[in-house]
Amino acid sequence: MPYYRSLLLSFLLLALALLTGLLLDTPIGSSLPSLFGHAHDPLTRQLLLELRLPRVLSAAASGALLACAGAAAQYQFRNALAEPGLIGVSGGAALAAALALEAGLGGGLVAMTAFVGGLVALWLTWRLAGPRSPSSQLILAGVAINALTGSLLTLLIATLPDDSLRTVTFWLMGSFASVNWRQASALLIALPPVWVLLWRHWRYLNLLQLGDAATFHAGYPLARGRLQVVALAALATSLVVANCGMIGFVGLMAPHLARLITGADARRVLLLAPLLGALLAVIADTISRLAIAPAELPVGVITSLAGAPFFLWLMRRALMGSDNARA
């Protein structure tokens, strides 16, 4: 599919998914007018504006941020299986965020603590695996770090008397159900700069696929590029985790779908992947809201249900060495 058409199509699909997510399971007849202020039904209006709208917008922004982080990790580590959840960033961010909440810190500080936690966990994973390790080793190190942060998180929440920390499920499987406008706007405001700043590194990230030395020889200093890309990926992930918990596999799937559609060029993938990530997250959130209504599923259940087989498929391709053939 031509690149610009795929961008446009993703954008249209995203708009459609947002509208569907917003309006599904509401008295649709009264919804549209109520949005524009001619409401006769204040309850529906309140449902839409105070609950549904921040929710779908957070889902979209989170999906896009996770896709940014996933794409950044995949290019930076030259590893098709890298994903914020799999390489420990999400786990570290979640643990740090929970600790910050327990210490009674406010919204901005929680996100910042999560950022530091994510960076530390990523650094640990990277060191454990060794800088020039094959795919599998980075993932194995990520498994270890995830097990550690996951159990510490569970321990932390289990030993707390009150339920102020939300629940283990919230952190481990993620949810957009309880986001408010403050959280939604934090995500929406952070997305454009993260997206643009990361996209500006497309040349560096492309060259990196030829190797570290080749990148330097072509005129791009390694340390600066790596620092900025890794920091942006950790920032994107920790913002999502601090506000919506750990939502797995979106950061894995979106960049890969983008590569399948437009090829490996980071200039295109870094634009398309966040759109696809937003689309995936909004769809997953809508399903998680409606699948067992009136109860809710954590959104991570849906993304993992779709993502785990996808991961296995990727791993199989990588193991069989046919990774090169198509994507």
Partner: protein, 254 residues
């Protein structure tokens, strides 16, 4: 000029002084482990000497940014990652990222003779094709630069090539060097390629520069025998006396 002045690097390079001039082809030869790749890496500015200096003109390489260096020299690495999923066209275009325009890639594509490969994926190419594509990328980087002094550092450019391809590539590299006044340093394992295509030869042995000078002077049988530890026969073509080749002989019976 790209210069090493009494450069040393840990236990790999020992007090080496060397100059690479615009327009010449300098072959860097020596046994395995002699430090050829380390020396190339010093000249490229990727690693810094522990003692001595690496210079571009009068400026130490350590004072030049990666971008500045890249406008003066390009490198064909011995090993690169496979760049899964990238097309040849995309890989060659990476050479012109620094310059912000793509019109130099056409010349690079023609010089490296990769016109027919542009839409293929890099990972589906043979070793020889990959080598030519990476050469085209390096050329695109140099030819796009408006600097007057430009250097091309090649780490075993012919490693994956058959005898005909290797000779053709070196011939082409020699032409490019003369036409575009690019100084070329090529690490070669095949002595006869050096003999045939280099203006000058630098012979490295266990980190020391044994000899450096015009090809015929440096590549003398006795010296090569000593450095490589093999007996060599020197063959001279009946009609072209300047066409020489070295062939290893079986060791003496003892």
């Amino acid at each position: 000029m790209l210069v090493l002045e009494h450069a040393s690097l840990r236990d790999r390079i020992e007090d080496v002084s060397l100059q690479l001039r615009p327009g010449e082809v300098l072959a860097l030869i020596g046994p395995n482990g002699a430090g050829k790749s380390s020396l190339l890496s010093l000249l490229s500015g990727l690693t810094m000497p522990d003692r001595g200096q690496a210079l571009l003109g009068d400026t130490p390489l350590r004072h030049l940014s990666a971008g500045h260096l890249a406008r003066h020299r390009a490198v064909l690495e011995q090993r690169t990652e496979v760049a899964t999923g990238f097309t040849v066209r995309e890989v060659i275009a990476m050479g012109s990222y620094l310059h912000g325009h793509a019109n130099t890639t056409a010349l690079a594509v023609a010089l490296a003779r990769v016109e027919g490969l542009l839409e293929r994926r890099l990972s589906t190419l043979s070793g020889g094709e990959t080598q030519r594509v990476l050469l085209a990328r390096a050329l695109a980087q140099l030819l796009g630069s408006t600097e007057s002094e430009r250097y091309l550092l090649l780490d075993e450019p012919t490693a994956a090539l058959d005898i005909g391809m290797a000779d053709g590539l070196m011939l082409q590299i020699g032409r490019i060097a003369k036409q575009h006044r690019i100084g070329v340093l090529a690490v070669v394992h095949d002595l006869n390629l050096g003999l045939r295509h280099a203006d000058r030869v630098a012979l490295l042995d266990r980190g020391h520069l044994v000899a450096c000078g015009p090809t015929a002077e440096v590549m003398q049988r006795s010296r090569l025998e000593e450095v490589y530890g093999v007996r060599l026969a020197e063959l001279i073509h009946d009609e072209h006396e300047d066409l020489r080749a070295f062939v290893p002989l079986p060791p003496h019976e003892s």
